[in-house]
């Protein structure tokens, strides 16, 4: 490889020098052969008189031209006595140059085309790398976008959930106000009466202090009918205590219902939760509706109580709505809760108007509603489904027109769901 005579053209069609042309054959054999024929000595040099091969014996050498492709490329020097051999040697060299040229040009061409193929491949490779990089960036951006969108969706969902909840809270508030107003009304009137009774008792006391005669006192007793006052006073107080207890009960329920408005998952007795929810629903419901709730032993489930209460209330109020139009027969909502080792089954059944089959497939769709504009956003059952799915359960609706609707909810019970 260190042979200085190796051809080094950069392009396959570069002009070849005498050195290039001689480099394709073994230099030892060439010089041996030349020395045998030109035994007086010889020298081969290029046009600039750079020696390529030589064998000197001391004799004077005479140069003659070496041409290739009608071009002078060097000189061959031989002694005067051996000039006759030089034309033959030049002929042989021509033959050799022809072969060398074919070989060198073909191999240079080969190198050149391989290099260009390699460059092309390299360029394609770079382009591929660049496009890969581009796709990676795109995918990262996409990932980020998706996360952003999911965030936005979650936020929107929360907003809608809050709005929906506020709507039902508003509905509830009206019912509860009525429910609380009632006992407060009669407690108030009782207290008014009681304070009148107290006035009578106070003047009786004054009579006694003034040492009034027993006849006068008896006359006063009879006049004020104090027998009845004492009897009624006790009744009033008992009735008022009962009324205060009713308010306290409602407040307790409301507190439980409101207090559970936490995002946290906690373990609760779902049946107790349903009980409270039924009380709350009862307050906003027509009195002709018979609402019943049957359940087994307490059932503890880890859940978001606010969500579960919300969705149960929503479904019960839907049932109540379905009963509003009903004029004939009784109006019932039967809620039942049963459980096995793994699952809790809740059925909410009404004997109301039912849902037409063509609507039944759409009830879980967002913004589908049968209510008047302003009454509902059409997100109720969509939320119910989301909440149930979020708890790993399922919800299903069966309905027959004019006969009623059954909503079936299944919630999973996991082993560690013991009361906190």
């Amino acid at each position: 490889m260190s042979d200085p005579l190796l051809p080094s053209p950069t392009n396959f069609d570069d002009e070849l020098t005498l050195q290039d042309l001689l480099s394709a054959v073994n230099s030892q054999r060439i010089t041996d052969l030349l020395a045998k024929v030109l035994f007086d000595g010889y020298r081969i040099c290029d046009v600039k008189n750079n020696t390529i091969y030589e064998h000197q014996t001391g004799k004077t050498l005479i140069p003659c031209d070496i041409a290739f492709d009608f071009e002078l490329i060097g000189y061959l020097e031989a002694s005067a006595q051996q000039q006759a051999s030089t034309p033959i040697i030049l002929e042989w060299l021509q033959l050799l140059f022809g072969c060398s040229q074919r070989y060198i040009m073909a191999s240079s061409m080969h190198v050149e085309s391989v290099r260009s193929d390699y460059e092309t491949l390299n360029e394609e490779h770079q382009a591929l790398l660049a496009s890969e990089q581009r796709y990676r960036i795109l995918s990262e951006q996409l990932d980020k976008k998706v996360k952003e969108q999911v965030g936005t969706l979650e936020q929107t969902w929360r907003k809608l959930y809050t709005a929906e909840k506020q709507a039902s809270v508003g509905q509830l508030a009206a019912g509860i106000a009525h429910e609380i107003n009632n006992p407060i009304g009669f407690v108030n009137s009782n207290l008014n009466t009681a304070s009148k009774y107290l006035d009578d008792l106070v003047s009786l006391g004054q009579h006694i202090k003034a040492k009034a005669s027993p006849e006068t006192l008896l006359e006063y007793w009879t006049q004020k009918d104090l027998d009845f006052v004492f009897e009624d006073f006790t009744d009033l107080l008992n009735e008022s205590k009962e009324g205060a207890k009713r308010v306290a009960d409602i407040v307790a329920d409301l507190k439980l219902f409101a207090n559970l408005d936490s995002e946290e998952e906690i373990t609760i007795d779902i049946n107790r939760q349903l009980d409270v929810t039924c009380h709350m629903a009862r307050t906003s419901m027509d009195e002709s509706v018979k609402l019943s709730f049957t359940h087994d032993q307490p059932c503890f489930i880890k859940c978001r109580p606010a969500y579960i209460g919300q969705l149960m209330l929503g479904i019960i109020m839907n049932a109540a709505d379905a009963l509003k139009q009903k004029t004939k027969g009784d109006k019932t909502i039967n809620i039942s809760s049963q459980q096995d080792e793994k699952q809790l089954f809740i059925h909410i059944e009404d004997n109301g108007s039912g849902i037409p089959p063509e609507m039944l497939t759409k009830v879980f769709d967002p913004f589908f509603t049968t209510k008047q504009v302003g009454e509902g956003k059409g997100l109720g059952l969509t939320f119910c489904k989301d909440i149930i799915h979020g708890h790993g359960g399922s919800i299903d609706i069966n309905s027959t027109l004019e006969q009623g609707t059954v909503v079936s909810i299944i919630l999973p019970i996991t082993p560690d769901k013991t009361p906190a």
Binding site: N11, E15, E71, R102, M109, S113
Partner: protein, 224 residues
């Protein structure tokens, strides 16, 4: 482009015969080798496979001495026409001073001609030649065969282009010299206008043509 060698004693020009496979590029060179009588003519170098398909290229060197005693070399190259040898084609096309596109006149070869010509334009661009100034000549070869496209048809297709069209039969040696003559005239005009090295040669168009081609009949008075 035309460049002097480092000693400033020799100027080499390169003309490339381009075209689809088996359109007669090598046959053009063979015919030229037989018919031309330039001042100097080298051996034709053919690098082909057994099936007479050009593997790398063919080369026919021509030469002349300018009046000032400098050597002017003209190297005629052919490219391999087969589609697979594109990188070889690009290497041969590199540094070309003029290109002759040899098309096959047979009706069946229309698509091959088109593909090869598109390939030429693409490669001209890729090897860094200027397509708007590079002398390019179209030769429709194989006029001796039956089932060929008519001259009027071909002219209709090419008349809107800047490239002159020649009709030839390389196998019969017809109009091969005319094609090269036409090419060299264009090349001379181009170099005479734009190439400083070439202008230094101080050579007339007539001297240029007769020196490289010999005394040939197709040279008219106006070329002198």
């Amino acid at each position: 482009m035309a460049d002097f060698d480092p000693d400033g004693k020799k100027l080499t020009l390169k003309v490339v015969y381009y075209g689809p496979a088996q359109s007669g590029k090598t046959t053009n060179l063979t015919a030229l080798h037989d018919q031309l009588s330039p001042q100097m003519k080298g051996d034709m170098m053919v690098l082909d496979t057994k099936g007479d398909r050009t593997l790398f290229f063919d080369l026919l060197p021509l030469g002349m001495k300018t009046p000032s005693g400098l050597l002017l070399k003209l190297k005629l190259f052919t490219v391999p026409g087969q589609v697979a040898h594109d990188s070889t084609r690009k290497a041969v096309l590199s540094r070309a001073d003029a290109v002759i596109f040899v098309a096959d006149s047979q009706l069946t070869q229309h698509e091959n001609n088109q593909n090869s010509f598109n390939n030429l334009l693409q490669n001209i661009h890729q090897v860094g030649l200027n397509p708007s100034t590079l002398p390019l000549i179209i030769q429709f070869n194989k006029r001796d065969l039956p089932d060929i496209d008519t001259e009027s048809n071909i002219m209709k297709t090419w008349e809107g282009t800047p490239w002159p069209v020649f009709f030839s039969s390389a196998l019969k040696g017809q109009h091969v010299v005319e094609t090269l003559t036409g090419t060299l005239k264009r090349l001379y005009d181009h170099l005479d206008k734009q190439d400083e090295d070439f202008q230094q040669l101080q050579i007339t168009k007539h001297q240029f043509l007769t020196g490289l081609l010999g005394d040939i009949a197709s040279l008219k008075e106006d070329d002198k």
